[in-house]
């Protein structure tokens, strides 16, 4: 499998799902994982990932709070960080709220699978990979 030499930050409070995502992505990416919003913000500031996979219902700081914090960040690598939302929230209100915070894709957990999410992450990162090469 192709190695993209890019870092994915997975933010998911559910241990089982977080482990599945880590296993799925680690064959081609460097993977970081956080179980709550506070930890996600700390890791993002410290490690500067290339993309964030973000759940919305999270302990301490929820996904909306994480999005707001990174978009307002003075560091451009964080304020422009690509974010893919992976949540079971599905209402127009939730989707609109995340789109207003400039997400790159929104997936409903019950209606997607890991391969589709993986393909979207690769698609989002592909131009950057080409530029890097």
């Amino acid at each position: 499998m192709q190695n993209f030499a890019k870092t994915v930050l997975i933010v998911e409070d559910d241990g089982m799902l977080r482990d599945l995502l880590v296993v799925h992505f680690k064959s081609a990416f460097n993977v970081l994982a956080a179980e709550d919003g506070e930890r996600a913000l700390a890791i993002a500031a410290e490690s500067k990932p290339d993309i964030m996979l973000l759940d919305l219902l999270l302990p301490k700081v929820d996904g909306f709070g994480v999005l707001e914090a990174i978009r307002k960040n003075a560091d451009k690598t964080l304020s422009t960080l690509p974010v893919v939302v992976l949540s079971n929230l599905w209402t127009n209100k939730d989707i609109l709220r995340t789109q207003a915070l400039h997400i790159d894709a929104y997936f409903v957990k019950a209606d997607t699978n890991l391969d589709v999410v993986y393909a979207k992450v690769v698609e989002i990162l592909t131009p950057k990979v080409t530029e890097g090469e």
């Binding site: 409070d13 559910d14 241990g15 089982m16 799902l17 599945l20 219902l57 302990p59 079971n88 929230l89 599905w90 127009n92 989707i95 789109q99 894709a105 929104y106 997936f107 409903v108 957990k109 019950a110 209606d111 997607t112 699978n113």
Partner: protein
């Protein structure tokens, strides 16, 4: 296989519901809603719920696998939605359902019967065997909490799904419904022959509903795609999109060789998109149509391709 995919090039917007079918399904759906509301017709199991065996709250996300004994059948995988719902359109064969969620164990030892007073048709890990055609498989599944789950606590105020309240409300409505029926009957007997017109009218409404309950067909648990060339069905996938956000998929399923599909969705309006899987390429959009999902929470319409 490649040939059959290439041969199938339907016109855009060719996925359609006839006007007559739309009217009929709307009529049957609303009347079924009324009959279920009054408890005259038992609620069909359009989907199953994975729930906490102690507080009966729905669980999400739960990873669900339908695993056949015969390994030639692929494992079907799903994740419960915010209301703990799931369902599979299973092929004939012998299989098990396996469920996994952080902080919960399966099978439940707290609820070991087939009914716990709130949920029925309970599943505890036994083998299921289907001998006929494809069928919707969606038993309710209790799981036992083994540790505190933050997600479940946080969700309590978000999901309007208190099963005890629902059960009580349903029993009250049913009791009131049959009480009025009894009252009208008694009134008719004791005021004979000088009937009150209003009591007679009430009894006529009951008679009409009872007749409808006998004659009205049950709604299907699954949807059906019909096409001139059934071979193409094995390449077909259906996606439900939010019309306001076309990039967001709110339901996805494959179509069986018999044209049946199982597609769970919350009530609302959607764009249903039919796509064809292509080897080593993204799926190709073949057709789309607007669909309305009612209270039953599944897309169970008949859809014509190549009409």
């Amino acid at each position: 296989m490649q040939t059959s995919v290439e041969k199938f090039v339907p016109d855009s917007h060719s996925l359609s519901l006839s006007r007559y079918y739309r009217f009929w399904s709307l009529f049957v759906g609303r009347l079924n809603d009324v009959l279920r509301f009054f408890g005259m017709r038992k609620r069909r199991k359009f989907w199953g719920v994975v729930y906490d065996s102690v507080n009966k709250q729905p669980l999400d996300p739960v990873l669900i696998n339908l695993v056949y004994v015969d390994s030639t059948h692929a494992v079907q995988t799903g994740v419960t939605d915010l209301s703990g719902r799931y369902g599979f359109l299973a092929r004939p064969g012998k299989f098990k359902i396996l469920v996994r969620k952080t902080n919960y164990s399966f099978p439940s030892t707290i609820v070991s019967a087939s009914n716990d007073g709130v949920y029925d048709h309970l599943y505890h890990g036994e083998f299921i065997e289907l001998t006929g055609g494809t069928e919707v498989v969606a038993p309710n599944i209790p799981m036992d909490p083994v540790a505190k789950d933050w997600n479940q606590q946080a969700k309590k105020h978000m999901v309007d799904n208190n099963p005890y309240v629902k059960l009580l409300r349903s029993r009250l409505i049913q009791s009131l419904f049959w009480f009025i029926f009894a009252l009208a009957g008694v009134n008719l007997i004791f005021t004979y022959p000088s009937h009150s017109v209003s009591w007679v009218a009430i009894l006529l409404v009951y008679a009409w509903l009872l007749g409808a309950n006998v004659l009205l067909p049950h709604e299907r648990l699954w949807g059906l795609v019909t096409t001139a060339d059934p071979v193409n069905l094995e390449h077909l996938i259906l996606e439900l999109h939010n019309p306001l956000f076309p990039d967001v998929i709110l339901g996805k399923t494959e179509v069986g060789q018999d044209g049946k599909f199982f597609l769970l969705a919350n009530p609302g309006y959607y764009t249903l998109v039919a796509k064809y899987k292509q080897p080593n390429q993204p799926a190709r959009t073949a057709a789309n149509t607007q669909v309305k999902v009612g209270k039953i929470g599944v897309v169970n319409q008949s859809l014509d391709l190549l009409k």
